[in-house]
């Protein structure tokens, strides 16, 4: 009959042993708590930042998927247009996998007010068909949204550069499809603010029918922007669209902006590496505590061995002490991190760094993203590392010779 040491007794012994040196245990648990809370917080912030970067990018493109004339992306000229009137394409676009889609014309133009002129990108779309998605990531602060055949919506920054105002007319000048310079005068009917100052300064919106008529494009367009319901379905939808129109270029957002996915992956890897480093550093402290605890308790361990406890059970006893310490630290850390994230659920104002963040494609308000998976991952890493680091002390303890340990001074 072998010695029995139920889990409950083991945990209770472990807790009591930890309480013997309250300060030491508190310092280690505190260190764990700080590290865990900080790491969870950091992950949530990075997730928020990366998620925001992705959202902003998709909104700014706009669309999860874009369809173009195959030459258009290299040479965004008015002549690389295509006709969207195709039964097969329409049926895919109207399938339930797709949340929204819009046809657009995009051309570069000069915009002139009475006082100044700038280069801009004209984005023309069908306001009746599209809803708000088509505008990308903008907020109307003055005037009204587009209607069929109405005027032009400009960014606040551009409005200031042009030294003009809502209701005033501006002149757009570009090359029409026939190669001749085309001019049109339009009233400013709306003013928007965008997260990205660069787009606020350079993008203007007009109605599709107006642009098609002005530029001689009939029913031709330059781009279809598509929003999907589920990011997982992206590739499937892409191939369906491609089948419908083999003559056009159908691309996902991560193909359109390749550096972004590298960046997302890199920062993921970076965070993981840093977390592991922090916890490896921490585990030195944990091992130290455990080694000292065993050192102080040599006699006691000798006694337990003499009474008939198996070496393996001694190891388990030592490891359960580490486990209890880990669980305490993790519990507190999780609570603290969750509370901080709860308090910050509406986002953090980073307008101080707005320009720099814009340079990285992030908006000035950062909302941390709380993912249960991350917390579980973080906790598991800590428990695994902690238990792994307790293996050596546990092994050493179990190999003590009972009488040597018992009579050691």
């Amino acid at each position: 009959m072998s010695a029995k040491l139920p889990m409950r007794t083991m945990l209770s012994l472990a807790s009591r042993n930890l309480l013997r040196n309250k300060e030491r245990s508190a310092i280690m648990a505190g260190s764990l708590t700080i590290a865990v809370a900080a790491m969870i917080f950091l992950i949530a912030m990075m997730r928020g930042m990366m998620g925001d970067m992705q959202t902003q990018t998709i909104k700014g493109l706009p669309g999860d998927i874009q369809i173009h004339h195959p030459t258009y992306r290299n040479d965004p000229d008015i002549e690389y247009h295509f006709s969207p009137t195709n039964e097969h394409l329409r049926s895919v676009l109207n399938s339930p996998l797709i949340r929204a889609w819009s046809e657009r014309i995009k051309v570069n133009a000069m915009i002139s007010s009475e006082r100044a002129n700038r280069g801009v990108e004209i984005i023309a779309f069908n306001p009746a068909q599209e809803g708000r998605d088509a505008y990308g990531n903008i907020n109307l602060i003055d005037g009204q949204w587009l209607e069929q055949g109405s005027g032009i919506i400009v960014g606040k920054a551009l409005l200031e550069k042009l030294e003009t105002d809502l209701g005033k007319r501006v002149v757009l000048m570009t090359r029409a499809l026939d190669g001749n310079t085309a001019e049109i005068g339009l009233p400013i009917i709306g003013v928007y603010r965008a997260e990205m100052r660069a787009s606020e300064e350079s993008q203007i919106y007009i109605a599709l029918d107006k642009a098609q008529h002005w530029l001689g494009l009939d029913s031709y367009i330059h781009e279809i922007a598509i929003y999907v319901n589920d990011q997982q379905q992206l590739s499937t939808i892409q191939s369906q669209l491609q089948q419908a129109r083999p003559d056009l270029e159908v691309m996902r957002w991560d193909e359109l902006i390749p550096y972004l996915s590298t960046m997302l992956k890199t920062s993921d890897a970076m965070i993981t590496v840093l977390i592991v480093i922090v916890f490896v550093t921490l585990s030195f402290g944990l091992v130290n505590t455990l080694v000292m605890a065993i050192f102080e308790r040599t006699k006691e361990i000798g006694l337990m061995l003499a009474l008939g406890l198996k070496p393996l059970q001694i190891s388990l006893l030592i490891m359960s002490e580490m486990l209890v310490l880990l669980l305490c630290g993790l519990f507190l850390g999780d609570i603290i991190a969750s509370s901080i994230l709860y308090l910050l659920r509406d986002g953090i104002d980073l307008s101080q760094f707005a320009d720099g963040l814009a340079m990285m494609g992030v908006s000035a308000s950062l909302t941390p993203i709380f993912k249960l998976d991350d917390i579980i991952l973080c906790n598991s890493i800590v428990i695994l590392l902690g238990l792994a680091s307790s293996l050596i002390p546990a092994w050493k303890a179990s190999h003590l010779k009972p009488i040597e340990a018992l009579y050691r001074d």
């Binding site: 009959m1 072998s2 010695a3 139920p6 006694l303 061995l305 070496p311």
Partner: protein, 234 residues
């Protein structure tokens, strides 16, 4: 495993154990031969440093001799794995160590229950047994004190209670009366004798307390690791 007493005869043949202390070799055990029958009540005596503790450690399978043979119930201890030795100690041998007997984080009663728990005794039964044992050694009311809150003598009595609670076939006690007043010492020895008579438990008690010698059925005297007198061989 039964506790059929005839199975627990102890045999020592030419047991030698020496310790290297710098240049010097100290003989802890020097060619020791003893046969212990079941139900004997042995007093192991001799001056300090004569090898009593060392012998007890060997009898309990805690120490291994440099040469010689030690067998319990006809089985040589040198053939047992550490794990088998652990089981042997847990199930058949009760220990009272000279010092440091109790687990500091456990209360008096828990220290006793700990052994029963390891043996797989159910929670309720082990509580009752432990409490009864504590009463028997005269510690009623102190069951929830931790070792640090007990006097040396009280700690000693908890250790004794723990050693005999599971009714082992062999009890090895190292100076069990050293910290006790004479009344308590007598009580404890009476308890040992009672167990010895009732359950045929074998006792080997290392002590130079003359009271122990009064209770003993056999006296073994040691000096410099040698047995210099054994009342059984006279």
């Amino acid at each position: 495993m039964t506790k059929d007493s005839s199975l627990y005869a102890v045999q020592c043949r030419n047991l030698c154990r020496h310790y290297q202390q710098g240049e010097q070799t100290i003989m802890g055990l020097d060619n020791v031969n003893i046969d212990i029958q079941d139900g004997e009540f042995i007093c192991l005596t001799g001056p300090s440093g004569s090898g009593k503790t060392t012998l007890l450690n060997h009898l309990g399978g805690l120490d291994t001799p440099n040469s010689g043979e030690l067998s319990i119930a006809g089985q040589s201890l040198s053939n047992l794995t550490p794990s088998e030795l652990s089981d042997l100690r847990l199930n058949n041998i009760g220990f009272v160590f000279q010092s440091y007997n109790l687990i500091p984080v456990l209360s008096a009663i828990e220290n006793i229950e700990f052994i029963l728990m390891m043996q797989g005794v159910g929670k309720q039964r082990r509580g009752q047994q432990a409490l009864a044992m504590l009463n028997e050694v005269g510690l009623q009311g102190l069951e929830h004190r931790r070792p640090a809150e007990l006097s040396g003598g009280q700690q000693q009595r908890v250790a004794v209670a723990r050693a005999i609670v599971s009714q082992p076939a062999l009890v090895l006690a190292d100076e069990p009366t050293a910290n006790l007043d004479s009344v308590t010492a007598e009580q404890l020895l009476a308890l040992f004798q009672n167990l010895n008579k009732k359950l045929n438990t074998t006792f080997v008690i290392a002590s130079h307390d003359p009271r122990v010698q009064n209770y003993a059925t056999r006296l073994i005297r040691m000096q410099d690791g040698k047995i210099i007198e054994d009342s059984a061989s006279e």
